[in-house]
Amino acid sequence: MKSPLHTTGEVLASKRVGAFQHLTVVAPGVAERFRPGTFVAVSVDGTRLARRALWVHGVKPVGGYGPALQLVVEPVGPGTRWLAERPVGTRLELTGPLGRAFALPKEPVATLLVGEGYAAAPLYPLAERLRERGCAVSLLVAAPDERRLLSALEARRVARAVTVVTADGSVGRRGSVADVVAGVLAQSAAEVVYAAGPVPTLHAVAAAAEQAGAWSQTAVEQPLACGTGLCHGCPLPVVGEDGVARVVRACTEGPVVRGDRVRWDELAGAGEPS
């Protein structure tokens, strides 16, 4: 695996789709190293010291620039709002790709990909890689509402079967991932489940996978300060391969971890001496 880079990128395009701002950012070297499930850490707003993590939604060649990163920003606070408002041409300090990617199966098995809100972003490039390996891909996309449902159209392109749920029922079934995941999983006959979204969603997916005897790979978001493994500010309580409970760095030993290894109940107070 190649090392990540710290570099200056440039915003080539910025487009509003629903509640999200889709950014195309050229960052030489970063796009080439990308694997689904990794993220970039971006500096925002000149003087803010903590970096903001963003999933890489994809890599797209842009004429004259080489491959560019596709990022999806939900403006929820000062940093993401700042990013969403950047005009084309803005230079961005960014580091990436960071963290552990989704592990790909060695055999062509059936897979289920579960994504909620903007966090569905890394599942689209993952679906492509899985299909390249001959894996059957089912997709469960969830969101609070239609405006925060990521790329439902594209979903049909990358997956054999697509299920959509929204909390308000504005599109697809009304409900949550927790409500439907067991059924969708059974239907997909998946041996590996990949998930990205809020912690309760990931927990529900991991539990359903365990129940069904499937592997799960969960992409866990924890508030980050550096994103590069330097600060130990992103505690993730897990059980190690050796069966010993420990706390790892979500940004470096994660963000993708096996669902059965996460101590979900402690994630709220992650790092409490165990």
């Binding site: 010291l49 970096r51 924890q222 790092g271």
Partner: protein, 311 residues
């Protein structure tokens, strides 16, 4: 002044500009009850390579920085503060952003000394920067035990005793806010460290920093590190430390106080240093080297760029 002492020390691997911290010959060294002589009977010297040092707890295991080119050209790498046994650290959220600063209470997570010696140190000492191991603990005895084991670890250039944890009590660590207690810890560490030089990182408390520096050097520290986190609070009120550019003027004042009171004591300065201009202000105030911490969390190449700018 001790910026570039003429005597002793191993030759550096990386060109001519090197920083050694030692008790300067310009001042009669107070022997004190706990003073000690170095291997050659002379001053205890710590070789920092050049004036740019990665601050404790801000450089991960070193590997993450190396992968990003962040160790290039820097003089020394300080580890996170290690304890005898593994620590999982404090609860989340551990870090909050504030104006030009980060408020942090990580609870000093770490693998414990044996695991560190087995899995991290061997790689670290192969890297160009000098390795300084930062230590902390729940008791004087724990500090001493860690120092004793480090004294035998190959490749380590120095020990930094972290006496500046602003939330020590909350995390079950020894409370060394009284300079008297800090001196006890340093004396015990110096005794066990044998020929390994010991730096004491003292609280960046303007009123007492000079006194702290005095008692720890009397207890045998080869130099002091000045300008760690300021005691602050997380938004939810838990005790924590404040680091970053916000604290820079406070750290600079502390360096000035120590230099004025103890002109013979080598001072490594830190606190919010980001640019070459920042670093120069500390060096001009008399620091022999600077530590870079929070700047790395924002830009992992910050120290490498600083080293290049100062070279």
């Amino acid at each position: 002044m001790p910026r570039l002492p003429a005597a002793g020390g191993r030759r550096g691997r990386r060109g001519p500009r090197r920083t050694r911290v030692h008790r300067g010959a310009g001042r009669a060294r107070r022997p004190g009850p706990l003073g000690r002589a170095g291997r050659g009977g002379g001053a205890v010297v710590i070789d920092l390579g050049n004036p740019v040092v990665v601050a404790a707890g801000c450089g991960g295991t070193g590997r993450e920085l190396a992968a990003l080119g962040g160790l290039e050209g820097i003089g020394a790498f300080t580890t996170r503060s290690l304890t005898l046994n593994a620590r999982s650290g404090g609860p989340a959220p551990r870090i909050a952003e504030t104006a030009s600063g980060l408020v942090h209470s990580t609870g000093l997570p770490g693998p414990g000394l044996e695991m560190f010696l087995a899995t991290e140190l061997p790689w670290l000492v192969q890297q160009p920067p000098r390795v300084v191991v930062s230590i902390t603990g729940a008791s004087v005895a724990e500090h001493a035990e860690v120092a004793r084991r480090l004294a035998r670890a190959p490749g380590v250039r120095g020990i930094e005793v972290n006496l500046a944890v602003p939330d020590a009590r909350a995390h079950g660590l020894l409370d060394v806010r009284e300079p008297f207690h800090a001196a006890n810890v340093v004396a015990a560490v110096v005794r066990e460290a044998q020929d390994l030089p010991v730096l004491a990182k003292v609280r960046a408390d303007v009123l007492r920093v000079a006194e702290s520096a005095r008692v720890v050097t009397d207890a045998g520290a080869a130099g002091v590190v000045v300008g760690g986190p300021q005691a602050a609070a997380l938004p939810d009120g838990r005790p924590a430390g404040l680091s970053g550019p916000a604290v820079r003027p406070l750290a600079l004042r502390c360096v000035t106080e120590v230099r004025a009171a103890l002109p013979g004591v080598p001072v490594v300065g830190g606190g919010g240093i980001t640019t070459a201009e920042d670093a120069r202000a500390f060096l001009d105030a008399g620091a022999v080297a600077v530590q870079v911490g929070t700047a790395l969390l924002h830009d992992p190449t910050a120290a490498a760029r600083l080293a290049a700018a100062l070279a």
